[in-house]
Amino acid sequence: MATIAEFLANEHRCCDESFATTEEAAQAGDLAHCRATFREFQAVMEHHFHKEEAMLFPAFEQASGNAMGPTRVMRLEHQQMRETLAGMDGTLASGDLEEFLGQAETLLILMQQHNIKEEQILYPMCDRFLGDAVRSVIQAMRDLPAG
């Protein structure tokens, strides 16, 4: 993978895939399967957030000299998604799949409008600002162990 845009957009697609599997299990009324796939989904999402927050955003902030701009909003949105995921986790614990599906619908839009911003704007800017450092930042994100 040559660019941050490609590398991380691909991760978004993996998260989407995982989301669809969980949602399908909820729709089918399979609580046990839904719990298992949701745990996986939540872990994939958290790992992705962590890569951005620990590696990409600081590198971008340093290269662009701007810590209060786009990355601040992206961190806030990660927090918002974490809260929504925590809410879904609570709903699964109580076994309410109807409520879970409603929260999943909400998360999907929240997640995708965030992805659009990153893929359309932030990642291409990271590729431009980071220049030659792109490869090492990608490697650092690859090497980051899952939380």
Binding site: A20, E24, G69, Q120
Partner: protein, 437 residues
Amino acid sequence: MNSAGLSLEQAPPFSVPLRFFLTAPWFLVLAALLLLWQGPEIFASRWLPVTLALAHLFTLGFMAQVMLGALLQMLPVVVGVVVPRPQLTAALIHIPLTLGALALTVAFLSGVPAWFQVAWWLLGLGFGVALIAIHLALWRAPVVSGTVIALRCALGALLITVGLGLSLGGYFGWGWSLPVVAMTQLHAAWGLAGWTLLLVAGVAYQVVPMFQITPPYPQWFGRGFAPLMAALLAAWSVLMLGDWETAARLTSTALAAGIALFALTTLHLLAQRRRKIGDPTLGYWRASMASLLASALLWLATLWIPALGPASPAEWLLGILPILGFAVAVINGMLYKIVPFLAWFHLQAQLFRRAKVPNMKQLLPEARIRRQRWAYLTALLLLLAAAVYPAVFTYPAALALGVTGAWLGINLLSVLRIYRRALHEGLASVAWKKSCG
């Protein structure tokens, strides 16, 4: 490159897009009332003033209304640029556009030049503000994606559509001397195949893959489709005005093929969607793209089969399919995603961690969407039937159109009601906790 002016903040205040979204459905009801009042006579010709009034209730009252409101909301997300003074800008677009659409309807129905003059100033103001505000934002876009390219082409097409529309308004209002028939054709083509189609394409590049979890549009398509269509429209306009009939017909053929390609690509992507659960807005996308494909094929047929020329029902179908089929369906479906999400989003921002926020399906239950969708599909089919057999189908079509418009309006208002209640209760509980807990 400079990132200082970049803002990825989500969004203007809720009222900015909402005022457009809550107004638009009632223009469908007005269109239905006009159809009921005029009866089957309206299908006598597409050139009757009452037909033009009906077309503008759809295109200005419903379509432009939602499209401009959604753009003000979407620009920060897709382009990364905020429209300055959003509340004032929205009011300066929404109020003149709404009043202008009403004034133009009265003008067509009465034939009084003064009403055309009133409509001219109002619509000139509303679109003028919209074009300036949105153009400024689009040209400051820090990254030029396929969507930004399509939006720029769409905005260019809107500029041409509005310019032609105002010129035609000058003909009716002040007696300007103009080639009215040719300009009306151009006005309709730039409005539908330019502004509407290219805006929908630019939005589809993002929302179809993201929300239905499908593969992306091919990259060459995303970057090439909109500029190619805009160039073809420009070539067609010149050829038509210059009376080069064969060349104009060949260019039209290429345009129709391009439209069909977009519809087929989108339908193909939707068929590969990874999200298997029933999404109620999916039906609107399918209906919209099927109507668009049918419009393109019918247009091709009229180009090459003389019997389908002017004064045949094909002419009417070529208005109904792209307007009520393609545009109204996709807009209706998108409203059901945007309005509940924005309600949730603004509740979340105001009540963050202090009270429970209803999720999207609680804000707008799927069953409500599904029922209104049946009303919509019935209205579309009946109106298509009315173009062929006006005597039988006009009144049922008008009734169905009124029902679907009112139902959409009521569904959107119900989201707002739940939003207000949740906000009120949430803030009340916060106040209680502060004083007692």
